[in-house]
Symmetry: C2
DNA sequence: AGTGCCATGTAAGGAGTTACATGATTCG
DNA sequence: CGAATCATGTAACTCCTTACATGGCACT
């Protein structure tokens, strides 16, 4: 629902047409999450259908501006007033991956962790490099959010590795691997 | 793509049918992200279409087990070997919301931040309460991931508030009150 | 004349959610 | 018997992405 409300928020600053909305959105968030232009139009259509937005007659240059409605303002105010619950956030693919890696036969969990850490460290470095450059406040806060998250991810990966060494004997194949294969049955459903 | 690969990983432990897959998935991740049963079946259909999985003849009790194919094993190994890039993660709705709140007229950013912080702190407390209870390793790591992320979010919110007081004069139109209120105390998590 | 950007859309499909329909089995 | 749970599916819909089609306008 972030795009839907994001467009509403942009329209609260005044009338805008589709192409403008995309530019504005990407300007705010520093093009961190590029917004497909196609989605802007389909979302605008849905917003209009739901009465949150009103499409205006086509301008000279072929531009079709939209304006927010009273109902749209109410909806927007509600969005800003309501905290984002952790329950309705998307699944964390990395957490799922590592959790499953633990019980999947033939997967070297340690190497999964370390591969991910290298990648995350690289992106973290790119983020910190970006920080020095420019700086509109909104975009800087978004960037900081990414940095904080990446740092947390690194800490978590370290934490995982520390937990692992206590449970997984070693990276090297255990000689009792043959007997360990009897554990191949699926447990309780 | 997390469900697709998640199901593949579970099937690597042996044949399973749809209902079992959902239980197993939720057991691993502690029901943090409940998995809709309908999606399991549609995903299995797509996986079979793509040759990553093979549907077996119906069992006596009406259960239709699936098994992973060689191609599926390759795909799964690739998933585990490839780090998850920050680029193709879903948009962070909270970051977008705050970034837009800054430039949206009539929005009290400070209160948005504080509302969110209260909510995040509550869920963090729930998480830490959960930690004491049980403990399969995979689920515990998932929980730790959630905790680390929530803590990072709290730090970021504090950071946002600190940045705000320097740029937004104050909620009240009196400039002298703002400078007095600048050192708004928030001890970090 | 051609390249490239501005601007609006549509089509096709993946992923996910909610809801519904349908049976079998199990338990009080 | 009735209710709950197990088990498989389908339908409708939102959100999002990728790709395609189309036209205007500006610059070289």
């Amino acid at each position: 629902m972030s795009i839907r409300h994001g467009l509403l928020a942009l329209l609260e600053r005044g009338q805008m047409y589709g192409y403008q909305l995309r530019s504005a959105f990407e300007a705010e968030t520093g093009a961190t999450w590029p917004l497909n232009i196609g989605q802007v139009y389909t979302t605008l259509t849905r917003l209009e259908r739901d009465g949150l937005v009103r499409g205006l007659p086509e301008h000279d240059g072929g531009q079709r501006p939209y304006e927010i409605t009273a109902e749209g303002r109410t909806e927007l105010a509600l969005w800003f007033a309501t905290p984002i619950a952790h329950a309705d956030r998307p699944r964390d693919e990395l957490a799922i991956k590592l959790a499953l890696a633990l019980t999947t036969p033939g997967v070297d969990v340690q190497s999964v962790v370390q591969t991910q850490r290298s990648a995350t460290m690289r992106t973290l470095q790119q983020y910190t490099r970006l920080k020095k450059d420019d700086g509109e406040l909104p975009w800087r806060l978004v960037l900081d959010s990414l940095i904080f998250q990446a740092e947390a991810e690194l800490r978590w990966l370290d934490h995982c590795e520390a937990s692992l060494v206590r449970f997984v004997p070693s990276t090297s194949p255990v000689p009792t691997a043959a007997s360990a294969e009897e554990e191949n049955v699926h447990e309780r459903a």
